[in-house]
Symmetry: C2
Subunit: 336 residues, 2 copies
């Protein structure tokens, strides 16, 4: 049970522990022969350095933390996988925590965590990316962090996002080009930056084509399928229906599809529907959803990579999105 330590390796290789440490950390100024001897000893003993000891003695903990509070398991899960994959590449491990923004002692919880477990960095996913309490607690600790898809204070620190507004603009324009004029929009949760950016893109596209924006066609959802259902019911259960509904994420679009189905409204002949995110659910519904693919896992992987390489420079990393046209959108029906 007694585990193998750096001393065992040093002894076996016939060098000092400092030299073993050098090899382990890829430091320069080690003779090639010595390096090989040490590596051989490490391999023979199947030695793994103890994380706690490393963390206590040195300046890195080989731990990253992902903070989230997001109603979409698909989205979070995708972020987790991207981060885990990247962590593994570099011998890092991922710690996760669910934060409750409306918790009264959020500040305490966060700062207690920060000071007891010193991770090498935090990945903040929306809506935590814009949470002032969390941000300032982390900043106070001096720990590096990266925000995924933030909305405010863009020059506050490093972040990763896609051009949410541009994507919504493009998709809306595509609907307009198909002849749609009554395009409804279902907004996401107000705490998420994407909500505002996507809505901005939608309204800009209408404006660009000179189509008036009617508040009757804009509904407030919260990114959950449930809210998509509720909003769709309001939008579709009336005399004059929109010819298209742009739900600002796929889960809400699923809700729309379910309602359309139930009401016997044919998609896309009578109603075009599109979503955002290209989550697995987009390919399950029939017809499959026209949506925007964003590289979720790549975003968190990049975040992890930046934190691990210790080069998270202030400023943004903009990744590419892609409009994915599937069967749920089509030409606007002619009004009788």
């Amino acid at each position: 049970m007694a585990s193998i330590t750096i001393n065992d390796v040093a002894e076996r290789a016939g060098v000092s522990i400092k030299t073993v440490s050098r090899v382990l950390n890829g430091e320069p100024n080690v003779a090639e022969v010595t390096r090989e001897k040490v590596q051989a000893a490490v391999a023979e003993l199947n030695y793994r350095p103890n994380l706690s000891a490393r963390s206590l003695a040195g300046s890195r903990s080989y731990l990253l933390a992902l903070l989230f509070n997001n109603p979409s398991p698909d989205y979070v899960s995708s972020l987790q996988l991207g981060a885990i994959r990247e962590c593994r590449k570099f011998g890092y491990h991922l710690l996760i925590d669910w934060l409750e923004p409306q918790s009264k002692n959020l500040e305490d919880e966060v700062s207690a965590t920060i000071r007891s477990v010193r991770t090498d960095g935090y990945i903040l996913s929306p809506p935590i990316s814009d949470n002032e309490v969390v941000l300032s607690a982390i900043e106070k600790s001096g720990t590096p962090y990266i925000r995924i898809a933030p909305y405010r204070d863009m020059d506050r620190g490093p972040y990763i996002n896609i051009d949410d507004a541009g994507a919504a603009f493009d998709l809306t324009t595509q609907l307009l080009d198909l002849g749609h004029r009554e395009i409804a929009f279902i907004k996401g949760h107000p705490d998420h930056g994407a909500t505002h950016l996507r809505y901005g893109g939608y309204s800009a596209a209408l404006r660009a084509k000179g189509v008036p924006l009617s508040q009757d066609l804009v509904k407030q959802g919260d990114f959950s399928a449930r809210s998509g259902i509720d909003c769709a019911e309001e939008l579709l259960d009336r005399r004059v229906r929109p010819t298209a509904i742009f739900a600002s994420n796929d889960e809400m679009a699923l809700g729309v599809m379910l309602v359309a189905n139930r009401l016997g409204i044919h998609v896309p002949d009578e109603l075009s529907v599109c979503g955002f995110d290209d989550m697995p659910v987009a390919k399950l519904v029939w017809p499959q959803l026209t949506t925007v693919r964003q590289p979720t896992a790549e975003m968190s992987a990049l975040a992890a990579e930046l934190l691990i390489s210790r080069s998270p420079e202030r400023g943004g990393h903009l990744l590419d999105f892609q409009i994915v046209t599937r069967g749920s959108t089509g030409p606007a029906p002619r009004r009788s």
Copy 2:
């Protein structure tokens, strides 16, 4: 930036660091006055013990790890939340890792992780719960572990599950009582214990009522909605259809509902559908799914609690399930 250590607390309280340590760990033999003095100092300085130091010096790391490889983000996410909640109660933190069972160097990956980051315990979720390589690697390290919903070697160590077979038996019986005789079954991924147990319950129920089990009505899925769609197509796209389909999880049941929808088959009048798990998706489809509710988050919370309290005794903890009857099941249609 220099963080507050146990020395600062000791100085402020006018005691030795050992005494502070005693108070921190709730050890006996500390005078009440002393205890209060120390607690006051801790509060004033807002001191938090350093995890790495604790882990290095002592026998606990205040870290738990959840291992998974599961196609259902809903399920995994629910397990994570249960574990996180419980961890927070006791000042623990949760580390997660995605394992690839078919990876050639799985053994290495697991044992490397185990020996570099010494967690106080592992929570194994299906299908990892039955992975021999992972199990023996953990056992070799002497780290406690708890299996969620395992299938084999039940007396190998502690585990937590529900009576999957019993639940499937009850639900199948309910369908039989509604008059169904042609009840199709969609199996889950073969690596998951639940797959075999649920199928066992289904067939036992048929046997109990003297209804012959037809292999034509049993399809092999993998717990993904996609596979539910594929199996449903095979089952429904034929002259003589089953009158009910029991999908062994909700995601596959969603697939079935989508296909039925597409084919214009009315649920539940022409076809009864039921699922298993009572995931959020069960309430999204229309009609809502009849399913089995299992306390996923409670299962992982219990696992965490047992590991933290260091009392994971060999043997099982059986939690209650509940049949949830909703609109997707009804009396069998009369054959013309």
